[in-house]
């Protein structure tokens, strides 16, 4: 397998598995737990290393996984004790654990090859060469196996418990009354996040894991209202970021993980601005359209109250609108056939009166 293909596959696997669990994190407003876990696992890795004396994959993944679960438990514990809120719980737990890891490294493992850059900011570019041997045979890059395995696990979790996850995410109360425990699902999801983070960051680095957990799901959240579509979109966006990021990194001769995160960020920015339903531009347009509609309704109401024919020249002062605004409002009302000109005056038509009735006069009068 060519090194490029390995890197692309590993990155895509990571992107897809992060998108699957990350979508639920984003929806449950727990996006930062991934960030916390990815830092807090450090002491687990160091302890595993100190105990076994090797950088073998399994002990490290186990050590890191244990610390991931401990992180979640500690955050929950502080949170439950009601002495700290969730954000503060996260904010105090992971730096403490990370500090422990750094101290362990510099005290006991500084002479060996276990530096921070390597563990936390693991370089995806090396993943093709770190191969796994099984019974004396080279069975291919380790990262491919680990991230592929994590992806399968996450896929199985989401497919098997899709309905349960969906209901407990959007309505924990309903989930409880339907008979499946939101707490158990929460812990299951958190374990999946831990496994994902741990399985991914050694190959691609912590920062890319955090980016892939949060950014593509948040982007997808801006583009759809349906969970199924959000999951699919998040996976697609994640994989797109990975592929485009790789191309950009090759072109700039810069960090691959960094470039992937940056591309994911650009995609998010695009969705933030241009999403048809939730983008800033769409919102602005809707707001303006609402503004025009309200102006039209105000004018109709004024005509109705003012009696038969209201001279156009009085309108400008009455509403304090600019000349162009008045002209636009008038033009749209004339086009709709809700008002008609009579000399220099303006009159409500029967159609216009009906429109006023149906839009709720009381509501409009209140706004005046």
């Amino acid at each position: 397998m060519s090194p490029t293909l390995v890197i692309l596959l590993v990155a895509s696997f990571v992107a897809a598995s992060c998108a699957l669990v990350g979508s639920f994190l984003v929806l449950r407003k727990m996006a930062l737990l991934g960030d916390a876990i990815s830092h807090a696992v450090l002491p687990g890795i160091v302890i595993a290393f100190l105990l076994t004396g090797t950088r073998a994959a399994l002990p490290m993944v186990l050590g890191a996984g244990a610390l991931g679960v401990i992180t979640v438990l500690l955050v929950e514990l502080f949170n439950r004790s009601q002495r700290l809120r969730e954000d503060a719980s996260i904010g105090v737990v992971f730096p403490a654990l990370f500090s422990l890891g750094v101290i362990l490294i510099s005290r006991y493992a500084s002479q060996v090859d276990l530096d921070l850059d390597c563990v936390l900011y693991g370089e995806i570019a090396y993943s093709p060469w770190d191969t796994l041997t099984l019974a004396g045979r080279d069975i291919g890059p380790k990262a491919l196996w680990v991230t592929g395995g994590v992806l399968l696990l996450n896929l199985a979790l989401v497919l098997a418990l899709y309905k349960e996850l969906k209901i407990s995410t959007f309505d924990a109360g309903l989930a409880a009354t339907l008979g499946f425990s939101p707490v158990a699902l929460h812990y299951l999801l958190m374990s999946a996040v831990s496994v994902t983070v741990v399985g991914s960051f050694e190959s691609v680095g912590a920062i890319l894991v955090v980016a892939m957990l949060v950014v593509p799901p948040a982007t997808a959240y801006l583009l759809t209202e349906r969970l199924e579509r959000m999951l699919v979109l998040a996976v697609l966006l994640g994989v797109t970021s990975a592929l485009a990021g790789y191309a950009a990194a090759r072109w700039l001769d810069a960090s691959i993980a960094g470039a992937m995160a940056t591309v994911a960020g650009l995609l998010f920015l695009a969705a933030l601005l241009f999403s048809p339903g939730h983008g800033l531009l769409a919102r602005l347009l809707i707001q303006r359209r609402m503004g025009w509609r309200l102006s039209g309704q105000l004018l109709l109401l004024h005509l109705q109250k003012g009696g038969a024919v209201v001279p156009v020249s009085t309108l400008e002062r009455r509403f304090g609108w600019s000349d162009t605004r008045l002209r636009r409002v008038l033009a749209s009302l004339l086009r709709a056939g809700w008002v008609e000109m009579e000399g220099d005056g303006l009159r409500l038509t029967a159609n216009g009166a009906r429109v006023l009735e149906t839009t709720g006069r009381a509501q409009l009068a209140h706004r005046l």
Binding site: P95, A96, I207, Y221
Partner: protein, 424 residues
């Protein structure tokens, strides 16, 4: 202890940072923005890189300014995203954090490959190396720190409103949105000041951990800010001294562990909020409830039989509410000591004082039942369980008021007499 020149610099820097972080962290904690500092720290990296690319120098000031600008940009992006889109704050923080940092890594690797660039001067902004603090850094820190503290002092009242009740602040006509931006800017300054000392990952702990610890001891913002600053400074002193005296002990992590220890102690032992305190007061309440229940059980037996003088046997009393012998023993011993109950072998009866005390409990129970049936119109067979709880919670005063409001009822919904209030 004799400190080297470097160690003295580290000590001063860490102490200043601790105090600054503790101050600003209090506001961030109360505003539930604990992790904003984390995002700002990560967001600073591309700023550092761009500043280097533009100026080509590794002197502190331009790099510092670059970090500041990027941090401000990142924080404004978070504020804008949350305000203008459906993205929630946690996601917005995560996005800015990871994307800015990713961009920073791209720039960093790009710089590394430039002919002029080895990153050695830049990566101290990443992981924090307190030992690289020079006097110029300290001066920058001192000046900026003074500016930040002066701003907090000047806008203290406004920031307090922002932390507790921004809606009320807005109704007073205060520019809450601008204050929010001001607070975030102050946070950015502190974060950037701290980057070099403790590094990008740990900076969040210098903000939040002292504040979280201080929160356990007081409900007043002023006291909390001062205490938090004190804890932060203390952790700074501890961290720098420890790393100066023990070889291969990095400063930043020790600072974090020091303040984390203070936090744990605070969570356990702080008066009123501490977990230990909570456990103790819970046990005290449980014991009081058991005593009151025992009095009531004795009273009810007497009321039923009309025989107030008989001693009631241990097994009978245990059977009333299925308590263990041990629980009954402890309640009985306390009541005997108070002169409310007399004991003969394994049997109990009320003393006159005990009967009065028991009447108080029964009174609360029955008046509450009357209230529930009359005012809330609950059926009379649904009120007993609620009254079982309220008889231990209501104050004398509340019961007297209730009684008056109900027109001094004499009979409870089950037809039993309600004991009168006794003066003295």
């Amino acid at each position: 202890m004799e400190l080297s020149f470097t160690a003295r610099n580290v000590l001063m820097g860490a102490t200043m940072l601790g105090a600054l972080g503790g101050t600003l962290g209090s506001f961030a904690l109360l505003r539930r923005q604990s992790l904003l500092g984390d995002a700002l720290a990560h967001a600073a990296l591309p700023g550092v890189c761009i500043a280097f690319l533009l100026t080509g120098s590794k002197s502190p000031l331009p790099l510092f300014l670059g970090a500041l600008v990027a941090g401000v940009l990142g924080s404004l992006l978070i504020l804008a995203t949350v305000r203008w889109s459906r993205i929630k704050e946690d996601s917005a923080i995560g996005i800015v954090l990871s994307v800015f940092f990713g961009l920073g890594i791209v720039l960093l690797t790009f710089i590394q490959k430039l002919p002029a660039g080895n990153q050695s001067g830049l990566d101290k902004y990443l992981f924090g190396q307190a030992a690289t603090l020079v006097e110029e850094d300290l001066k920058v820190m001192a000046v900026l720190g003074a500016v930040v503290l002066a701003t907090v002092a000047a806008f203290y009242k406004e920031l307090k409103l922002l932390a507790f009740d921004p809606g009320f602040g807005a109704s007073l006509g205060l520019p809450m949105r601008r204050l929010e931006i001001l607070l975030t800017l102050l946070l950015v300054v502190v974060v950037v000041v701290g980057l070099q000392t403790v590094g990008v990952v740990l900076i969040v702990a210098t903000l939040i951990t002292p504040a979280a610890a201080a929160r356990q001891w007081t409900d007043r913002l002023g006291a909390m800010v001062l205490l938090s600053a004190g804890i932060g400074a203390l952790a700074g002193v501890a961290g720098s001294l420890a790393s100066a005296s023990v070889p291969r002990l990095p400063t930043g992590p020790v600072i974090v562990l020091a303040s984390s220890s203070v936090l744990i102690v605070s969570l356990l032992f702080a008066p009123r909020r501490g977990l230990l305190w909570a456990i103790l007061s819970e046990r005290r309440t449980a014991a009081r409830i058991r005593r009151e229940n025992l009095l009531k059980d004795l009273y009810l037996q007497g009321e039923r039989s009309g025989e107030w003088g008989t001693f009631l046997s241990w097994p009978l009393l245990m059977g009333v509410r299925g308590q263990t012998s041990h629980e009954l023993e402890r309640a009985a011993r306390a009541l005997v000591a108070d002169g409310l109950v007399e004991r003969s072998e394994d049997a109990l009866r009320l003393t006159p004082a005990g009967r009065r005390a028991a009447e108080g409990v029964v009174r609360k129970h029955r008046i509450w039942e009357v209230f529930l049936t009359r005012r809330l119109e609950l059926p009379s067979d649904h009120v007993h369980r609620d009254a079982e709880a309220m008889e231990h919670a209501l104050s004398e005063r509340a019961v007297a008021d209730l009684e008056e409001a109900l027109g001094f009822p004499e009979i409870d919904p089950h037809g039993r007499a309600i004991p009168r209030r006794r003066t003295a």
